[in-house]
């Protein structure tokens, strides 16, 4: 029986449920503790520093010979900022590390850090992207001509011609405020110094152990063989742990130079001020529609606040450039003119967060579709039906090729599930009672599993994408699968085991997945961008196929049959059409211990490797939110949330649904609750989980998930990625629903999170206008 497609329970869970699993903070025992002295202001010159007598304090001056974080994007309009590991002569954001303190315990280290006095001469900060773009704004980085540190333009050249004949133009200004991915586990690093090998092992809460090793070795001028990076269990990441944190490099430097074992466990306040932030986009877009309500041209001006420094390896180009390339989403039009800019400010650096730009660009496109529908007197389903792509492969106006999907089918299925027509009746009845119900649709594409062919056009100095898997069967018949991906909650150990078990006809208990250890697993790019099941899964399937062939060859020798006649199932290799067979574990013994029995050209042992580097595959989905808005308080209650998802073949449906539900909740949070707030001076006003408002079980309705399964040949497993879709689609569905609810008042919501305060302001303004 096939395991692929079965909702088996996760192999990861027993250790997590019993508290046995080790996370980063669980590995700190026996280490001295590190705490960081951080900038209390957004922008200042460092004039001096006083440290307590006898305290162990290290500054940039101690780190001589160490490089700066300086990610490179080969684009003429890219500004290469230098980020010192510890601030040199100025600080550029609140929370920037200035010095590292070492003490026997974390509590004592924090006491010392508090007692270090840093003399700062304040400089006028640049906080918001709107201010940063004005002529009189200070410029964050010396040597830059402006605060625009990366920009791009796409112009198909025919927008003006096409839009002249448009019968409707929909123009909107849209804001998505700043977020933090806020994994429940903060960042942390434990560096163990091995005196005998003169080698550091860095245990780090990270999504990409190999890339982290490369980055740190480049900075510290080390051989990669002298640093081992291990990702223990990681307590959520969502992108916040995919880029290089300066702190991790400092810990390795200290451990190497002091020959000591050291631990730094971030606290929540540091996580809010100094770990990577996300979003903070402002868009202007204008769509031109013809008489049939078809979008014929789109213009955009997209601005992303990218913070104080560029993130390694993806750079601060990742948000604006992705927004520019993927704004068209699932809609069919070929006239496009867009400018995208990344703007540097005195705020925390940004790292891609689940969905990257797509929650915002989906919001933009889906808001535009709803407004256009109103103008044309169409319902939100019909306008989308007329504009969605239907022919595959589809080449978008920006040159991206979409593989087969079910865009229209997912929309129609969603409309059927929510019974759109009867909702409209219910909504009208509710309005007669003074209640404001609304429905919001969101259709989107999720580009997933991109390998180097998709990353190459970005011109990053580091081009990620492929994955390699090394597989070996040991003499007892067990299979070790060493992967470069680095799962942290996605259940990849389970799903990859399902793939291997099916290929080799073995039970799950015979399979071990090894990941997250640079001394044990092949070089890989880790886990991000909804890539693991597609790319690492693909490499796993390819390697398993090769291992199957190797096992079949040994079986052929032993059973005196042709390898192609051997079938592996239920732990046995059998000759097709006969009852002759042998246990696979016995073949493993033969392969290692009885090689004289095998064909003379047979290599000893059983092993196989494979790499996979696909161009990528598009998942698609339609989300529908039904809300009720209390116009007195501005509060939004979610009554229903429906997802119709097409992520190709489902390897483990229950894990798939878990990814979707978790993603949707982060999207709802983006739409209604979460915001990192900076004041005009660059102080963060939201430094606790109490202020930041991640949603709890009470705010979230049950999420209903339906599947379509379009099988693509762009993925060798047939699976498409889906880790981000929930977060991408949900904000637009929720904001469209809130706007639909408030339509009788003439309110259009163009800002998220749509907090009660903001909704009330919109209602007040609308009432004032009509009065």
């Amino acid at each position: 029986m096939s395991l692929v497609g079965a909702s088996i329970r996760r192999l990861e869970d027993p250790d997590l449920l019993t508290g046995r699993k080790r996370f980063i903070a669980d590995l700190a025992a026996g280490c001295d503790a590190v705490a960081f002295v951080r900038s209390p202001v957004a922008a200042a010159r460092i004039v001096g520093m006083e440290r307590p007598n006898g305290a162990s304090v290290f500054t940039a001056n101690d780190l001589s010979g160490v490089g700066s974080i300086e990610p490179i994007l080969y684009r003429p309009d890219y500004f290469r900022a230098r980020q010192p590991l510890l601030a040199l002569d100025r600080v550029n954001y609140l929370g920037e590390p200035i010095a590292a303190v070492i003490a026997p315990t974390r509590r004592e280290a924090e006491d010392v850090a508090d007692a270090v006095f840093v003399d700062l001469e304040l400089v006028e900060p640049v906080v918001h992207s709107s201010g940063a773009l004005t002529d009189h704004s200070p410029i964050v980085h010396q040597g830059a001509e402006s605060n625009v540190v990366v920009s791009g333009v796409i112009d198909t050249g025919n927008v003006d011609v096409v839009s002249v004949s448009a019968v409707e133009q929909v123009e909107l200004d849209l804001t998505c405020h700043r977020q933090s991915a806020s994994p429940i586990e903060t960042r942390g690093a434990v560096a163990r110094y091995d005196m005998e090998a003169a080698k550091v092992t860095l245990y780090a809460s990270t999504q990409m152990p190999h890339v982290l090793r490369t980055a740190i070795c480049d900075l510290l001028n080390m051989q990669e063989a002298d640093l081992r990076v291990v990702a223990p269990a990681v307590g959520g990441a969502f992108g916040q742990k995919m880029c290089l944190p300066a702190e991790y490099a400092v810990i390795v430097w200290l451990s190497r130079h002091l020959r000591r074992s050291l631990a730094w466990i971030e606290d929540r306040r540091e996580n809010f001020t100094s770990s990577f932030h996300s979003r903070d986009h402002r868009y202007w877009i204008r769509g031109s529609f013809d008489g049939d309500a078809r979008l014929v041209a789109l213009e955009g001006d997209l601005v992303a606040n990218v913070g104080a420094y560029s993130c390694y390896p993806v750079t601060w180009g990742v948000e604006p450039l992705m927004a520019m390339a993927e704004l068209p989403g699932p809609y069919d039009f070929q006239s496009y003119r867009v400018r995208a800019r990344g703007v540097s400010t005195n705020t925390c650096p940004m790292s891609p967060y689940r969905g990257v730009s797509r929650p915002v660009l989906t919001l933009a496109m889906e808001r535009m579709m709803d407004i256009a529908a109103e103008r044309f007197g169409l319902d939100p389903v019909e306008i989308r039906r007329r504009n969605l792509i239907t022919q595959f492969p589809y080449r978008s106006t920006t040159g991206i090729v979409y593989d087969e999907g079910s865009y229209v089918a997912s929309l129609e299925k969603a409309a059927e599930v929510v019974d759109f027509d009867s909702f409209r009746r219910r909504q009208a009845e509710a309005r007669d009672d003074g209640r404001f119900l609304g429905i919001g649709f969101s259709v989107f594409s999720e580009r997933t599993g991109y390998g180097t062919p998709a990353f190459a056009p970005r011109n990053m100095a580091v081009t990620p994408g492929y994955e390699t898997v090394e597989m070996a069967m040991d003499p007892s018949g067990g299979v070790e699968v060493r992967i470069g991906a680095s799962p942290h909650g996605q259940g990849l150990v389970t799903t990859l085991s399902q793939v291997v078990a099916d290929e080799l006809g073995l039970p799950l208990k015979s399979i071990r997945i090894v990941h997250g250890d640079t001394d044990r697993s092949p070089y890989g790019w880790g886990t991000f961008a909804s890539r693991s099941m597609v790319i690492s899964g693909g490499a796993t399937k390819l390697a398993a196929g090769r291992l199957r062939d190797a096992i079949a060859a040994v079986a052929g020798d032993i059973l005196e049959a042709a390898p192609e006649d051997i079938r592996l199932a239920e732990g046995r290799a059998v000759v097709r059409g006969t009852d002759r067979g042998v246990e696979i574990s016995e073949l493993a013994r033969h392969a290692y211990h009885h090689t004289p029995k095998l064909a003379s050209d047979r290599e000893p042992g059983l092993r196989a490797n494979a790499s996979y580097d696909p161009a990528g595959t598009f998942s698609n989905a339609c989300h529908v939110a039904i809300v009720e808005v209390d116009i007195e308080t501005g509060g939004v209650r979610l009554d229903r949330f429906v997802v119709v998802e097409d992520a190709g073949l489902l390897i483990n449906p229950v894990i798939v649904d878990g990814q979707i539900a978790g993603g949707v909740v982060q999207g709802i949070a983006n739409a209604l609750y979460e915001e990192v707030v900076y004041d005009e001076a660059g102080n963060i006003l939201t430094t606790t989980l109490f202020d930041y408002l991640p949603p709890t079980a009470s705010e979230i309705p049950p999420i209903e998930i339906h599947h379509l399964e379009t099988i693509t040949d762009a993925s060798v497993t047939g699976a498409k990625g889906l880790g981000e879709g929930g977060t991408i689609g949900a904000p637009a569905a929720v904001i469209n629903a809130v706007s639909d609810a408030l339509r009788p008042l003439g309110v259009q919501v163009m800002e998220m999170p749509a907090t009660p305060d903001r909704i009330r302001r919109l209602i007040r303004e609308a009432i004032k206008e009509t009065a």
């Binding site: 019993t18 508290g19 269990a233 909650g489 649904d657 978790g662 949707v664």
Partner: protein
């Protein structure tokens, strides 16, 4: 640095003698001095609930208590849930219903649910969601946690 105080804690029915600073939280003491790292710290300011344990059967945030306050009370942590290699019904239900992803918040949710069900074995629906809103989970979207606790409650009643 302040002086150390000798404290005897009762954790999962076992005596744990430790010497700690008065300012040391119960969470840090359990993790560092008792060697029980299954209790996790997500915020250290009492919001996320990852460090939830039971004291005399009631869920509390172990990051908001000092170890020196906890002599003479019965402390239960996630390590005490399974017995003889048998998962507790809550652990089994979380496993069966995919009630965890990264698993970092899970010990806190298990202990919260254990305490809540001890107080009201019939907890379900919105009332259950209200109780579970004490803790934060970033991965699951909560639905599977709610389902798991409802299922465990049913198993524990029967």
């Amino acid at each position: 640095m302040s002086s150390l105080r000798a404290v005897t804690l009762s954790v999962n029915g076992v005596e744990c003698k430790v010497e700690v600073e008065p300012r040391k939280t119960l969470a840090d003491t359990l993790r560092e001095d008792c060697g029980l790292t299954g209790t996790h710290l997500g915020c250290e300011h009492g919001v996320c609930g990852a460090c939830t344990i039971l004291i005399d059967g009631s869920p509390v945030r172990s990051c908001l208590l000092f170890a020196v306050q906890c002599e003479g009370v019965a402390i239960e942590t996630v390590e005490g849930l399974a017995s003889d290699g048998q998962l507790h019904p809550l652990q089994q239900a979380f496993w069966d219903h995919h009630g965890l992803q990264c698993g970092f918040c899970t010990p806190g949710f298990l202990m919260l649910a254990k305490g809540a069900l001890a107080e009201n074995p019939d907890l379900t629906g919105d009332a259950l969601r209200e109780v579970l809103s004490s803790n934060l989970c970033r991965c699951t979207g909560y639905q599977n946690i709610v389902t798991a606790v409802e299922d465990a409650a049913a198993r524990m009643r029967s």
